[in-house]
Symmetry: D2
Subunit: 335 residues, 4 copies
């Protein structure tokens, strides 16, 4: 991964060209940095990486302008999954699962750059949301999707299992959505601190706490209505199934790097659980809900941001993440 | 309506006897007081009125005790709709619509008394909820049902049309459930004050404000996701349909005393609206959600309570309600 | 309304040009023929009318071809509502309610012509569905939307109130979707015949039958789970509310030309009803479900087609519809 | 397991006494017969086994009679899960998941006997349904629950994985509920025959067919909307996840006797799947839907019944099941 001069991207008829002001660094970028098996199989270099960003519209294709929605000069962010619009999934409200998805910063040029060209349909107006928040709405949207999908959150009890940045955002989303009890767990106390700052009522560290027992105690023995599994670890899966109430729900976002032994009878069937796999953000109901929560002052993801670096210091940004010392890290690109 | 000595109610095998500590006065009680057409057709005197209350379990039938849920001496409230348990509605999760419903204080003896006998299955434990709040959970439950039914409230915009006690509670419920914008309207400024204290972001008085225009302005021209119609007035219905966004929802709780002219094409069909009629509280998911919201500190209905009287002064209680000077009124019966 | 030579429509970058083989005649076309108040306010002549059709792709714009979904020479139909794709409704799965909708044959040139140009995204492949069926999938889709929205049809009881073509299609859709009892009513016995051919178990003619009593009898006094209101008449609305079971649903498609007096308390609120206004077809889940039902042999709308005319005899087509002697009428344009 | 004279069960105040006419033999009874680990841990002999039955009401407790629903002499079946009615699950529409469930024929005396006493609230009237069908509505209800939960079946594609009796019933339910394509798989060709008789469009035998490939082929490469996993085998789980379309649903009923390795990332998360564990029947919406489907003639489970024995020959009944030669087996007890 190097910093190089590349041509300004071409702005197509339906595109807008965006001058990037700030960008978020994601675990995905770490995989690419380390060029692990996933990265080396998926990416076809050279590609500009980075998929979380906010910036200013500086050029508009003719069709994008004619649509009359976006304005030159306004601040925007964007959904980084560019989908086909024609498949079964795209046509039935499941565009986030389109098989032909191209992800910016992975399958095509991304946002760790001065400029990025995006299809107008993917662009989301900030409309008063601060640029830094706009730069991380992609992962905040993952949290919104995870917390709200299929769950009736108002008045409910939620357990967020794994407090990386998206887990911490999920704590804030659950609170904003009216959960009456939010429990969070992680092995890293710094992350639990962030979860508390985002509103967690109870924080658990599996190195000290018997997680399942503590969650059951906090819920009068019932377990929680919703588990947001953000760890991707087999231990997390087992805790998720054991802490969801009978008839409850487990929404899985954490991406495992290994398989998990599941006792379907005991862990899922006899418990009447619903388990859901979270991919991306729903296009665009997640963005709509998230935008309102942020503008309404109910959801502020900024306490999770612990570090900011200029683009040139991306190696330092990657470093603090790898060391487990960071919440969310933002790259400052222009202003 | 008179205050008389009556025998202590008999406590059946499946019943508990409750010593009433506090009771709420409802519009229904006003209709009975005035012995209007509805009341004279429905009630078969003598009947003890009152259907909102909280109190202490002082006796338990044998089957109620054996069920092992309720405890002698604990503070409880109760769902006042006693349903058959066998009909299509009771068997498919719609017990609140049972045709054979008997309402306490209307169809059988109620709660404006020292003691009331209730089927154990209707009893709800306060479990730390203050007695006064317990005494008004029946109407708070109406508000919970109205706000949450069929709506995805987190991040949404809600318009509460009519700010009697249940309207004011609905404002609080919408806030607790994560609405990003709550608008309330009423002709009575005292009630708008209560709505603001319950968290309304915007309050409108139709005597001064163009309600439809103001709601559209506050929602970027879209209208709101959910209207809670609490006025029961034809003007309220028209405003409800006109202020719901295309594809939005209108939940109707206010009981009209007259019919309304509806232009179904323009007001409902071309707008893709969903309209839902709210009766009672869902048994018992509404109570479950409400209890958690109150215990979690998200929902406090007490700012709506403006007056308290001992049972002997029920005439004064009715008086302040009739004069439009009251929010919710509580009768103190024992303590 | 006249038949004239007009230029072949221009096929834009994202469009396909379709040679029309057959087209359906709709009530909307009748309003235009009669140039009533709605038509004279909405249409800006000259405009080619007709919005239900099927035909062959004979030309493709460059972007449409690049999308790689549609093929030159294949038979297709299309969703006639061309929507903006950017508004709140379009972005949250409610494109059928887009405020900026342009309807073919009303707001822009339509299908009673040799050729029509359509945005590729609106085009739906017939994929083995007969051309005549393809020509009427627009109104069949209205029926699918009306029957399936918000209702759990398998095993349920459905009352279709009004048996014009869309009502008759709705009978067939309810059967295909697993309704255990389908009741249909209309004043016109020929239409009731068609409803029976589409599978209605019980047909009622209000000129002879007490509709409400008969529906209650057929449902053990409960009323039906779902009423599809296709008449748009105040009498129909009253029957709809009275025949839906407590907690049931009324989906309204029939467009009233006058207002209706509604007693919200008695007809909707105390009955716990849900009422939904049906506009168009959901884009594109309705098309997906409909296509599968037709291809799977569960749903055959052809018994409703009673007349066919060449395009030149459109006056005769309009005539049989006005005389109430027709089910669905198809115009043959090419083959 | 022996056949003995036992006293006629006592009929409590809320109970009815039922003279058993016919009973179904279930896999559970086989486990008890073989006294495997599950059976020896769960049952406290002596207990009358058998939980699927139909019969005639011959005695009614006083409260049951007063409820005015059931009639002496009428034919009924019953939900065999007797639940507490007071817990979180019972109070929120999830009674089938009550922790204090007592199952007849397992935790208390069951139906392989001349008489059984059942709480009136568990009794379901046959109302014209044949006795033999009534005797197997318990497992048919499992199939109804599995097929309908969370799925929009009308027009959809369904894969039933495992064609024991409940799998075969599920094929029939999917057809009755309007599925446009039903695929069934099993290693046993006799069972595939039964599945075809219940309406399966495509049957697959994994010993000959590449199941995943064939399901994808039959669905234009998409996979199915709903998989009903009835095998309980790790290979079945893997096939279930691989054959569900992106964003599809897997409802798990088959009870595994071992754990399964799941690659959550690849099999569930990136596919956006929803997985649901099926326990029992929803009380009582499943029964309501099932009764209508059977009475409406849409669903006939009888083709799955391959054998009938008098109660005395229960050993033979168990034998044909163990040998894999039977579909559903019915015990004739009285008539």
């Amino acid at each position: 991964m190097t910093i190089e001069e590349v041509p300004t991207p071409k702005c197509g008829l339906n595109d807008v060209l965006i001058k990037v002001h700030a960008a978020g660094v994601c675990g995905t970028d770490l995989h690419i940095w380390e060029w692990d098996r996933w990265a080396s199989n998926r990416l076809k270099p050279p590609v500009v990486i980075g998929h979380e960003f906010a910036g200013e519209i500086v050029e508009m294709g003719e069709d994008a302008r004619r649509a009359g929605i976006l304005q030159l000069g306004e601040m925007v962010t964007a959904e980084g999954h560019i989908v086909c619009g024609h498949c079964l999934q795209c046509r039935t409200g499941l565009g986030h699962l389109c098989k032909r998805t191209q992800i910016i910063g992975v399958d095509r040029d991304g946002a760790f750059a001065d400029y990025i060209a995006m299809p107008a349909g993917n662009v989301v107006r900030l409309h008063g949301i601060p640029t830094d928040v706009g730069a991380i709405m992609d992962p905040v949207g993952n949290a919104v999707h995870t917390v709200l999908e299929g769950a009736e959150v108002p008045g409910s009890t939620v357990f967020v299992l794994g407090c990386g940045p998206i887990g911490c955002f999920a704590v804030g989303v659950a609170k904003a959505a009216g959960a009456s009890l939010v429990i969070a767990s992680d092995l890293n106390d710094m992350r639990l601190d962030l979860a508390r700052r985002m509103g967690a009522h109870v924080t658990l560290n599996p190195s000290r706490d018997d997680v399942v027992t503590r969650v059951l105690e906090a819920t009068h023995g019932n377990g929680v209505d919703l588990v947001c599994e953000m760890s991707g670890h087999p231990v997390g899966h087992a805790q998720a199934f054991a802490t969801a109430r009978l008839g409850g729900r487990v929404n899985l976002l954490g991406t495992p790097s290994q398989s998990t032994e599941v006792d379907f009878a005991k862990e899922i069937i006899f418990r009447g659980l619903t388990v859901y796999g979270v991919t991306g953000r729903k296009m665009y109901s997640t963005w709509n809900t998230m935008g309102r929560m942020i503008r309404g002052g109910q959801l502020d993801p900024m306490p999770v941001v612990t570090h900011r670096f200029p683009l040139e210091r991306i190696a330092d940004a990657i470093g603090v993440i790898k060391d487990g010392k960071a919440g969310k890290v933002i790259l400052e690109i222009a202003s």
